[in-house]
């Protein structure tokens, strides 16, 4: 009986949290974008986007290099090392680019967003904004949301591009795959709509989910040091799980049924 009770209570609290999150997103998005707020979005774009560039580029490079190394050892047994280019490019564009970028973004920028908004709440900055007749959803939450939505697809594309170059470095320069076949087979195999655009769509969806979770967890956090640390952890955990789960769903929709 007690088990049922606690199950019910936790379900209700989860559902109300989802409701609150939707309301928050709605409140932030329904705001008419004002010219005044564009500098805020650009500022946040710098914080979540430009400052994440280094980790994204380094990870992209190494993942591309590892892919080429692993791919080469398998492909060379079948004498198919010429297909290294499309292998690296397709796995990056379709899967690893959007997914790993989203995971890194959740750890690098998402946690920072949660902690920042949570601390603003704890230090009464959000309350004081409200008392100054400035809607914190518009002033604080909306610019961060849009910055995340804009930054992540761009980061994912950069990640894939650097990864392909890393693959080239290992495969062609170190392991001696023919450079011409690396690029030309890649060009003939990779389809713009099927691979590149689908990858970008994935990453837009991940951007929505990760940024939403991050700002909601911050906005809804319990304004104590314990509460904020819990919210930050939850941001990373929930958004990572959501990204991996959604990735399967999106892949099934995009590539599953031909």
């Amino acid at each position: 009986m007690r088990f049922l009770q606690s199950l019910g209570a936790s379900t209700i609290s989860k559902l109300t949290a989802i409701g609150r999150a939707t309301l928050m997103l709605f409140g932030a998005l329904v705001a008419v974008p004002r010219v005044k707020n564009i500098p805020l979005v650009i500022q946040q774009l710098y914080v979540v986007g430009v400052q994440s560039l280094l980790i994204i580029m380094v990870s992209g490079l190494f993942i591309g290099m590892v892919m080429a190394l692993q791919g080469y050892t398998i492909l060379v047994d079948y004498g198919a090392e010429g297909s290294l280019g499309p292998m690296v490019a397709l796995s990056l564009l379709r899967e690893l680019g959007p997914v790993v970028t989203a995971l890194l973004f959740a750890g690098r920028a998402g946690s920072a967003l949660t902690a920042e908004i949570g601390l603003m709440k704890a230090t009464e900055q959000l309350s004081s904004l409200e008392m100054m007749a400035v809607d914190p959803l518009r002033r604080i939450v909306a610019p961060r949301f849009w910055a995340g939505m804009l930054a992540m697809p761009m980061l994912a594309v950069i990640f894939s591009a650097i990864g392909i170059l890393g693959g080239h470095l290992v495969g062609v320069d170190w392991l001696g795959v023919d450079s011409g076949s690396y690029w030309s087979i890649m060009q003939s195999t990779v389809d713009w709509n099927q691979d590149v655009i689908n990858g970008v769509i994935k990453s837009v969806v991940f951007a929505l989910v990760v940024t939403w979770i991050a700002i909601f967890k911050g906005y809804d956090s319990i304004p104590t040091s314990e509460g904020i640390s819990k919210a930050t952890t939850e941001t990373v955990v929930y958004s990572s799980l959501a990204v991996l789960g959604l990735d399967f769903v999106l892949t099934a929709l995009m590539f599953g049924i031909e």
Binding site: E124, S127, S128, E130, M131, M132, A133, V134, R139
Partner: protein, 345 residues
């Protein structure tokens, strides 16, 4: 009819015509414009008339200010107007009842203090007035309008007329003191940057922090941060300012500065102030009217003298800081003997 319309046309023509044309036209009308003596006399007349006009204007200004003051004072004396009226308010958080039907009025232009032991929800009261929380029952009127039933848009409009000084100051940590004070002006007005700079300088001068304009909030001491926040709170010249524990954790000097600022700003800017605090001594010196809250209701109200003379035990315990009394020293618990015998609850 015909005549008037033609003279109108002449007038319009005269105003439209350039100076040289006017001269020739007036010459044709045989007016003695060139004559030296007439010019001198006209000049003198202009000066005299100008002086007369400015004197008259000054007299009118003085008269107007005087009449306004008379009106304001008369109004204050005749009917004690209330800026904030709280009527039979009940509010609870979860199962815990915080207020049970309290009624409280804040007179316009005065400093009203709300005192009470910690943890009875004094800050909650300010949040209720600011419309950040919604009461279970009862009504809160701000300037005769109900905060509770206001639309969101109207609430945001009303909030421009009130401001709140938070206990932590709540300065934006990513902006300098200057930008913090300029923030509400930039958000709510279309003033030019140099005008905003002037206003900010004046507000910071009022709290004595003009020299600290370029510091970041992290570089300020607690008292300075609170003063900077005060400058921000008065940036838009609000009608009402709410102070949440302004004296908590302040050294005697900054406490003195804050007491002085609250009093002086209230009188100079014709504000209405609500001070929520438990610092008895400071409040009794500055407050015009005092409410003491405890046990979910108002247990005492009046001027400082009336409060001092109150015969309520609870009020006296609070004023004199007695450890035990109607507000018990012990948190509710079973008897000590029983707890030794293993009974916890």
């Amino acid at each position: 009819m015909n005549h008037s319309s033609s003279s109108n046309i002449t007038c319009n023509f005269l105003t439209l015509a350039s100076d040289s044309k006017k001269r020739t036209m007036l010459k044709n009308l045989n007016l003695p414009l060139i004559s030296g003596s007439v010019t001198v006399r006209r000049h003198e007349f202009c000066i005299a008339f100008g002086q007369f006009k400015s004197n008259l204007h000054n007299a009118f200004c003085i008269l107007r200010v005087f009449m306004q003051r008379c009106l304001v004072e008369g109004r204050q004396q005749n009917t004690m107007e209330h800026l904030v009226e709280i009527d039979n308010l009940t509010f609870s958080r979860g199962d815990r009842v915080i207020y049970d039907g309290i009624t409280l009025n804040v007179p316009k232009g005065k400093i009203t203090a709300v005192m009470g032991p910690s943890g009875i929800g004094k800050t909650t009261l300010l949040r209720l007035i600011g419309g950040q929380l919604i009461p279970d029952e009862g009504d809160i009127l701000f300037d005769k309008e109900s905060i509770v039933s206001m639309s969101r848009k109207a609430l945001y409009k009303a909030r421009r007329k009130m401001s709140m000084l938070f206990q932590s100051g709540a300065l934006f940590t990513d902006m300098t003191v200057f930008d913090n004070v300029a923030f509400p002006l930039k958000e709510h007005t279309n003033l030019a940057d140099d005008v905003i700079a002037t206003i900010v300088a004046l507000k910071l001068q009022a709290v004595g922090l003009r020299g600290a304009a370029d510091l970041m909030p992290s570089e300020l001491s607690g008292g300075m941060a609170r003063r900077a926040a005060l400058a921000r709170a008065i940036a838009l010249d609000p009608d009402l300012i709410m102070y949440d524990e302004p004296f908590a954790g302040q050294d005697p000097i900054s406490m003195g500065v804050l007491v002085k600022l609250i009093r002086e700003l209230n009188d100079a800017l014709n504000l209405t102030s609500i001070v929520v605090t438990h610092d008895v001594k400071e409040v009794l010196t500055i407050a015009d009217y005092i409410y003491i809250l405890a046990d979910k209701r108002v247990i005492g109200e009046g001027t400082a003298q009336q409060i001092r003379d109150s015969d309520s035990e609870l009020v006296q315990q609070f004023l004199n800081g007695k450890a035990d009394g109607p507000v018990p020293f012990h948190y509710p618990a079973p008897e000590l003997e029983k707890s030794f015998l293993g009974e916890r609850k």
